[in-house]
Symmetry: C2
Subunit: 331 residues, 2 copies
C-alpha cells in the first residue's frame, strides 16, 4: 500500500487538472458580498462560502481529487482517513461516489453532526481518544490490516491541489468583477486549503498578501511563519474551532506556504463567536467556528482593508445545532 | 405622480433587459444541491437561494429594476413603498444606490430585523396596524404629499421582470448541468416572483409544471388558480411566514400566472418549521419561514419528484434571531 507518493510539491497545473476532475461533482460555490461587511471594514470583501460545498466543507474537493485518481489496484481495499469530521465526510462521500468502502478514524469528542453525517454517507467509524491516542498510528494500522489506501488530510499533492480549486474559482470570479486581490485570508488547520489557495491565487495576483487565520492557542502556523520553522502548539489547549485544531503545520504544506504567506492572524474565541453570529444574521450562512476564523479576523480589524480588495474563506458549516444555538443565543 | 404606467403585462424580453440592468448590482445567486434532499425526494433538486441576495431576499431585483428606470422627474420626490419587510429593504437599498430618499410603510409587528435593516439602509419608516389600517391608502397618501413615486411590491411589469431574473439565472445554470426542468416550486405571496419566474422558465421549458407554494390559511393563490378567479383568504389568520401573508393574488400577477401555473401547494406550519431546520442543518443556509414554503412542499412530498428535475426558490432569509432559535431549538 501507500503506492501514492507523498510529499511531492503540488504545482499550479495540478489545481487546473483538479478543477476539471471536480466539474459536476463539487459545488462551484459563489462569491458572496455584503454591504454591511464592506462598511465595517472599509474594503471590498469577497467571501468564498465552502459551507455550501458538498458535505458542508471544502474537504470534498481534495478527497474527490485524491480518491478519483486511485487506480483499481490502489483502491481495492477501500480508503481510510483520520479526521475531526470534515475530511471524514469528504472522504466518505467521495468513496461512496467511487463505490469503494471507507473507514474513518474520528476523535470520540467530534461533533455529533459530523459523526452522524459520516455514517449516513456509508462510512465505518473508528473512534479514539484525542488526548491519549495517536490518530495517525491508528489510521496506518487499519490501512495495513485491510489493504486500504490512506487519504491524508493535507500532506499530499493531490489533496492540496483539490483544495486549491476553491482559490482558482475565486480568482476566476473576481476577474469577472474586474477585481485584483490585495489580500486573501484563509482558515488554517494543517494548511492544505491555505497551500492550495496560495498557489492558485498567487499565479494570477503575485503581489497578494496571504494570511493564515487561526484561533488563539492554535496559532502554530502563524508562529511557524514568524519563526521560519515549524513550531507546535502547547498541548492541552481547548477551542470551539474543532475543525482546525491541528498541533503543528504539515511538512509539505509548510514548504508551500512559507515562501507565499505574509503571516498569520490569531483570533479570540469571542471574535470567532461574533463572526458566526454575523454570518447567520447578515450573510444568511451557517458557518462553523473553525470556518469563521478568517471572517473573524476581518470583522475584528486584524488587517487594514480600507479601499482594498480582500477575500476570505468560510471553510465549513458542520456545527452541532446545540453549539450554534448557544453561540447565536449569546448575542 | 404615478407617471409609470401600471398593469402592463411583462414580457420575456423585459426579464432579459432587467438581467442586464442588475448585472454587478444584484448577487447572481448559485444553484444549490443537496445529496440528502435528492435522497428524500427521489429527484434531482436544484435550489435558488435568494436569502444570499443583496438585502437578504429576491426583492432587491424588482426594486432595482424599477427604481433605476425612473427618470429624474419621476424620482425627484424619492420613492415610497409598503412592505412587511423584504420589499422594504430592497427598495431602501436601491434608493440609496440611486441617491434618492425612501419612505417605507411597514406593519407595527414586522420582524425587528427587517425594520432595523431598513433603517440601516437609510430609509424612513412609517408603521401601521396590519389589522386595522390599509397600507395602500397610507402609501398613496405619502406619495401624493411628498411627490414620491410609489414602488409597488408586485403589481408592475418592471417589478415582475426584475424578480424574473432569478428564474432566468436558474434556467441558464440548469442548462450548464444539462438539465431540463420538470417542475418548479415558487414561494408565493402577491405573486410577483412567481409570475417573473414562470415567464422566464416557460420560455425555455414550455412543459414545466409550476406551483405556487403557500402556508395553510394563506393559500389564496392556490385556491384562486383552482377557482379560475381571484379569491381572498379569511381575514384574521396568523402565520410565521410574515413575508408572504398577502390577502389575495395581485390582478396583474394573476393574469400572468393563471395560464402558466399547474396549481398551488399549501404547507402546514410544522412543515415550514421542518424546512427551516433542514436548511440550517443540511444546506447551511438561513431561510426565513416565508422563504421556506417551497422547500417545505418538497420535503413533505406534496408533489412526486421521483426521477424528475425540480427547482425551488428559497426566497429570503430575514428572520429575527429569536424566532429562528425557537424554530431550530424545537427539533
Amino acid at each position: 500500500m501507500m503506492a501514492v507518493a507523498q510529499l511531492e510539491l503540488p504545482q499550479f497545473s495540478d489545481i487546473v487538472e483538479a478543477s476539471q476532475r471536480l466539474k459536476g461533482r463539487a459545488v462551484r460555490t459563489p462569491l458572496v458580498r455584503s454591504d454591511a461587511l464592506d462598511e465595517i471594514t472599509g474594503g471590498r470583501i469577497f467571501l468564498k462560502p465552502e459551507c455550501l460545498q458538498r458535505t458542508g466543507s471544502f474537504k470534498f474537493r481534495g478527497a474527490w481529487n485524491f480518491i478519483s485518481r486511485l487506480n483499481a489496484k490502489d483502491n481495492s481495499g477501500g480508503v481510510v482517513a483520520y479526521s475531526s469530521g470534515n475530511h471524514a465526510q469528504g472522504v466518505a462521500a467521495a468513496a461512496r461516489m467511487m463505490g469503494i468502502p471507507a473507514v474513518i478514524v474520528m476523535p470520540e469528542d467530534a461533533p455529533a453532526i459530523k459523526k452522524r453525517n459520516t455514517i449516513a454517507l456509508g462510512a465505518e467509524i473508528v473512534t479514539y481518544d484525542r488526548f491519549g491516542e495517536n490518530r495517525e498510528v491508528i489510521g496506518n494500522a487499519i490501512a495495513s490490516e485491510r489493504g486500504a489506501q490512506l487519504v491524508p488530510p493535507y500532506e499530499h499533492r493531490w489533496i492540496i491541489a483539490g483544495q486549491g480549486t476553491a482559490g482558482l474559482e475565486l480568482v476566476e470570479d473576481l476577474k469577472e468583477h474586474g477585481e485584483t486581490l490585495d489580500a486573501m485570508l484563509v482558515c488554517t488547520g494543517g494548511g492544505g486549503l491555505t497551500a492550495g489557495v496560495a498557489l492558485a491565487v498567487q499565479a494570477t495576483a503575485p503581489d497578494v498578501s496571504i494570511y493564515a487565520c487561526e484561533p488563539e492557542g492554535f496559532d502554530d502556523y502563524g508562529r511557524s511563519l514568524a519563526a521560519g520553522e515549524r513550531v507546535s502548539n502547547e498541548p492541552g489547549a481547548m477551542s470551539i474551532c474543532d475543525a482546525i485544531v491541528t498541533p503543528t503545520p504539515g511538512e509539505l504544506t509548510f514548504s508551500v506556504n512559507q515562501p507565499r504567506l505574509a503571516g498569520g492572524l490569531a483570533v479570540s474565541e469571542e471574535e470567532v463567536r461574533a463572526a458566526v453570529r454575523f454570518a447567520f444574521e447578515t450573510l444568511k450562512l451557517v458557518v462553523e467556528p473553525g470556518g469563521a476564523v478568517a471572517l473573524a479576523a476581518l470583522l475584528a480589524g486584524k488587517i487594514d482593508c480600507r479601499d482594498k480588495t480582500v477575500a476570505a474563506t468560510l471553510s465549513g458549516g458542520n456545527a452541532d445545532a446545540e453549539m450554534m444555538l448557544e453561540i447565536l443565543g449569546a448575542a
